[in-house]
């Protein structure tokens, strides 16, 4: 049935209808021919035995009255089943015959001297056609044995009857096929129409016409399916509307939150700067002039103010990703990477880090944010180094040609950047957690930081329509990947 997979319902109905009809016709024809053949042969013989008997009586009477029943014999000859009739003398000489050719000839056959009615199979000499022969003894005695009346019967009428049965059945079959085709068409249409409506309905929903209703009014299973579909579509519409409202609310809330975060961090900067400035002033002026507790307290205050300032700066940067982002433009990512490296030059030199990179592509991006992205990733690579001087390698390749396993992404075109380091690595268990804001895997004392860096990276990448992930094992370094999609598949 594999070949039926591509065939429509109409074709399938048609196929099964025709096959069924043909099978039925063939079987019924076979049975009819077998039954009719037997019945017709029997009927033919019985009918002609009766005929032979009647004619024999007339012949016997004709023998006495010197009047052969030629009219009857002619009528017999006109019967399509009768090939010949003979009136045969006991010597085997044909006394009278339907055909002049045999008239007066002598036949050699044991049936010539029969005293009982015989029905035997024979072959027609000229054509070797199978025939039936009825031999009826006549009440005309001669030479001690009676004369006989012979009737040669053709089986062609039976063959013709069989042929007629076949033709009739073929005609019936063709008619049935025609009707079957028509009914199949109607049946298929009655099914395919609602099915097509359902298909169109699902397509409409897929295209966004949530709540699309289909109009199928049949009372059958398809009607039930349509009702279910419509109910589902209506539910979907309601859910979709509720979801949209929630999304809208969420977006609004998010915007408000981002606005709040930005405003809060921005507005907090000024008083914090003031607090920090005066605390630092206190520390400079009164270092060693107060008791040791005061120095310690002031130091705590300075440290706290500094950390808060850093935190607020990072938070501001985080919120600015969406609120102060620039339009994307074609930029040389190698140049951006160079700038990021220059800003990290001190850290690189201090850690004896070796940073290498392959040729970098031109991408559509916000250059500042991309620089910020590189900077954060490179900084992390240097910061979370092992005992060995860090080795960092940056590369980029086309998604289409990449062998990198990209998890859960529908992005089909763009560039996959990778930043591979030789640092302490990350337990894969925390691969997602590290991108959440304020989430830290280490204490501040072990590795300084605000816990915003990778969250910022994630936000930048997502703003560009890409995604970011990490592959790592503890102690074996980590590789951060991020995708910069290519809009409209432009070759940049």
């Amino acid at each position: 049935m594999r070949s039926c997979k591509g065939v429509g319902l109409f074709g399938k109905f048609l196929f099964f209808t025709i096959v069924t009809i043909v099978l039925v016709i063939v079987i019924t024809t076979g049975i009819a021919i077998k039954q009719q053949g037997t019945s017709l042969t029997s009927s033919l013989i019985q009918r002609n035995i009766s005929l032979a008997s009647v004619v024999s009586s007339q012949i016997e009477a004709g023998y006495i009255s010197q009047r052969w029943p030629f009219e009857t014999l002619k009528k017999i000859s006109e019967n399509e089943a009768v090939l010949y009739w003979w009136i045969v003398e006991p010597s085997g000489q044909v006394h009278l015959a339907s055909s002049p050719d045999i008239w007066g000839k002598t036949i050699t056959n044991s049936a010539v001297v029969t005293r009982e009615l015989l029905v035997k199979d024979d072959l027609l000499p000229e054509t070797s056609e199978k025939i039936k022969v009825i031999v009826n003894p006549l009440k005309i005695e001669g030479e001690g044995t009676p004369w006989t009346f012979w009737l040669g019967l053709s089986l062609r009428p039976i063959a013709a009857a069989k042929k007629r049965i076949i033709l009739t059945n073929v005609e019936i079959g063709l008619l049935a096929i025609a009707v079957g085709v028509f009914l199949s068409f109607l049946l298929a249409r009655s099914i395919t129409r609602p099915v097509k409506s359902l298909v169109n309905g699902t397509k409409a929903i897929a295209k966004g016409d949530i709540g699309h209703q289909i109009s199928i009014t049949t009372k059958d299973e398809l009607g039930e399916l349509a009702s279910s579909f419509n109910a589902m579509s209506a539910d979907l519409k309601r859910s979709h509307e509720a979801l949209a409202r929630q999304a809208q609310e969420l977006a609004r809330s998010n915007v408000e939150l981002e606005q709040f975060a930005y405003v809060a961090s921005h507005d907090l900067q000024e008083p914090l700067r003031m607090v920090g400035s005066f605390v630092q002033l206190l520390a400079r002026r009164y270092q060693g002039k107060l008791d040791s507790d005061a120095d310690e307290f002031i130091a705590y205050a300075v440290d706290g103010a500094t950390r808060m300032q850093k935190l607020i700066n990072d938070l501001l940067s985080y919120s600015r990703v969406t609120t102060h982002g620039k339009d994307f433009e074609a930029i040389d990512s190698a140049a951006v990477l160079d700038r990021a490296l220059r800003s990290l030059q001190a850290a690189v030199e201090e850690s004896d880090a070796v940073v290498t990179y392959n040729p970098m592509p031109t991408v559509m991006a916000d250059s500042l944010q991309l620089e910020q992205l590189f900077q954060n990733l490179l900084n992390n690579a240097i910061k979370f180094r092992s005992d060995e001087p860090p080795r960092v390698h940056v590369s980029a390749e086309r998604i289409e040609n990449s062998k990198i396993c990209i998890p859960h992404s529908e992005i089909e075109t763009g560039w996959v950047f990778s930043v591979r380091d030789s640092g302490i690595g990350i337990d894969p268990e925390y691969a997602d957690r590290i991108f959440v804001i304020f989430q830290r895997l280490h204490t501040r004392e072990e590795y300084p930081g605000t816990g915003i860096g990778l969250a910022l990276c994630k936000k930048i990448v997502e703003r560009h329509g890409g995604r970011i992930w990490v592959e790592s094992q503890p102690g074996k370094g980590a590789t951060f990947y991020f995708i910069m999609p290519m809009k409209e598949d432009k070759e940049l």
């Binding site: 004709g62 023998y63 006495i64 009255s65 010197q66 009047r67 052969w68 029943p69 030629f70 009219e71 002619k74 006394h95 009278l96 002049p100 008239w103 007066g104 005309i140």
Partner: protein, 440 residues
């Protein structure tokens, strides 16, 4: 069936007119031990010369080279009679006596019914020291009447046989012009009396248009009569029958002339006849015209009475209805006062005559199949035409059933002549006859 001796009853199917042959003294001859040599031939070749040559060749072969004394010739009008006779004479010589006439559509022999594209002919030649043949032919133009024609013909035939009128033959074969046959017969009887059977038939064409011919020695006639007289000591058989069934319809020809019946029982003859056959000629009764093919199975019959009071029925075939008298023309003379009866039959009855006529002839002559030397068969053309075409080939086959391998030829005629005991020779229609001679 060959030994069939049972006669049909009066009520049963056939009305046979059987006449015992008048016994004539057998020839006491030194040639008693010499056989009768007989041969027959036939042809349907389109060319007359080839046809005659083929038939003669076949006959000569059967006669093992012995030239025939006498030849019966039947041909159809597809062949020119003069040419046929010329070719015959060329091949057989002037000495052979030729007798015969034309046949309707075809001819018959032991080999079957022969119907050619152009024509067909059959001949039967006989030579025997125990048979003397005399052949004559007389045209009506040569004499003043048909009766004189008969007289002249029989005298010439007897003379041709080397005999005199005081020494009548055993049998006379006749082939005449289909007209005034009764008068011809009367002329013959005036010479030889009423005891010698005159058996034969009137020559025919294919469509009753007067193209029939009679052959007598080296002459061809169209309005003649050809006779063969036979003198022999051999056993001789003959038959003449009109096997139809009689009906209860009977009347008297109250007004008639020659072959026209004007009135039956003082009513228009055609009206009466049509009533008898239940209106089967209603259409023609109003328009007049030919009824020949429609009356074959409904012949009228003249009732004649024999010397011992027995009735004989001589069938006559209605030819046409004539207006305005609504008279009925027939193929035989009907005298006023003649009793008429309606007969009927069917083709089966007619076909069976090909079986019974030879049977009667053999029976009449007490001739077994083995004894039979040759036979001449006459079958009414109208009777033949009434038989379905596909059944007609059975006619000679049925003859053969009775005659075995006895050579015979047959002709289809327009009127048949035969003998009724106690009545004499008569002319009738729709009849059949046979003459058979034994070999020994």
């Amino acid at each position: 069936m060959r030994n069939m001796r049972r006669k049909t009853g009066i009520e049963i199917l056939m009305i046979s007119v059987l006449i015992l042959a008048g016994g004539q003294p057998l020839w006491a001859s030194s040639a008693l031990s010499q056989p009768v040599r007989v041969g027959y031939g036939w042809s349907v070749e389109n060319d007359v010369g080839e046809a005659v040559a083929e038939a003669v060749s076949m006959m000569n072969e059967m006669m093992t080279g012995t030239p025939p004394d006498w030849v019966t010739l039947f041909s159809t009008i597809g062949y020119d009679g003069e040419e046929v006779l010329e070719e015959m004479t060329n091949l057989l010589g002037d000495e052979v006596k030729i007798y015969g006439g034309t046949s309707c559509l075809g001819v018959m022999t032991n080999d079957g019914l022969h119907i050619g594209e152009v024509g067909s002919l059959a001949i039967l030649g006989v030579t025997s020291p125990r048979i003397q043949f005399g052949v004559s032919g007389v045209s009506i133009e040569e004499v003043v009447s048909a009766r004189e024609q008969g007289k002249k013909a029989i005298l010439e035939a007897i003379s041709d046989a080397g005999r005199t009128a005081e020494d009548p033959p055993q049998i006379i074969l006749i082939t005449g012009n289909p007209s005034e046959e009764e008068e011809v017969l009367k002329g013959i009887e005036e010479i030889i009396g009423k005891d010698v059977p005159v058996i034969g038939g009137s020559s025919a064409d294919n469509e009753i248009i007067g193209e029939w011919k009679q052959y007598a020695n080296d002459r061809v006639y169209s309005t003649g009569v050809a006779l063969t007289v036979i003198y022999t000591d051999l056993k001789l058989g003959w038959s003449y029958e009109m096997g139809y069934l009689r009906t209860a319809n009977q009347g008297v020809a109250t007004k008639s002339e020659g072959r026209t019946i004007y009135e039956i029982d003082s009513r228009p003859a055609a009206v009466v006849y049509n009533e008898w056959i239940e209106g089967k000629l209603d259409d023609v009764l109003e328009t007049g015209g030919d009824v020949l093919s429609r009356t074959t199975v409904y012949p009228l019959a003249k009732i004649v009475h024999g010397e011992t009071g027995e009735n004989y029925y001589i069938s006559i075939h209605p030819l046409s209805i004539e207006l305005p008298e609504k008279s009925l023309t027939v193929f035989a003379d009907v005298l006023e006062g003649t009793e008429l009866s309606l007969f009927y039959g069917n083709w089966e009855l007619l076909l069976n005559r090909a079986y019974t006529t030879p049977m009667q002839a053999r029976a009449r002559g007490n001739i077994s199949v083995e004894e039979a030397g040759f036979a001449i068969f006459t079958f009414c053309a109208g009777t033949m035409l009434a038989i379905p075409e596909g059944e007609r080939p059975k006619i000679p086959l049925l003859v053969k059933n009775i005659m075995g391998e006895t050579p015979f030829i047959g002709t289809f005629t327009f009127g048949e002549q035969g003998f009724l005991p106690g009545v004499g020779n008569v002319h009738g229609n729709l009849a059949s006859s046979m003459v058979v001679l034994a070999e020994e």
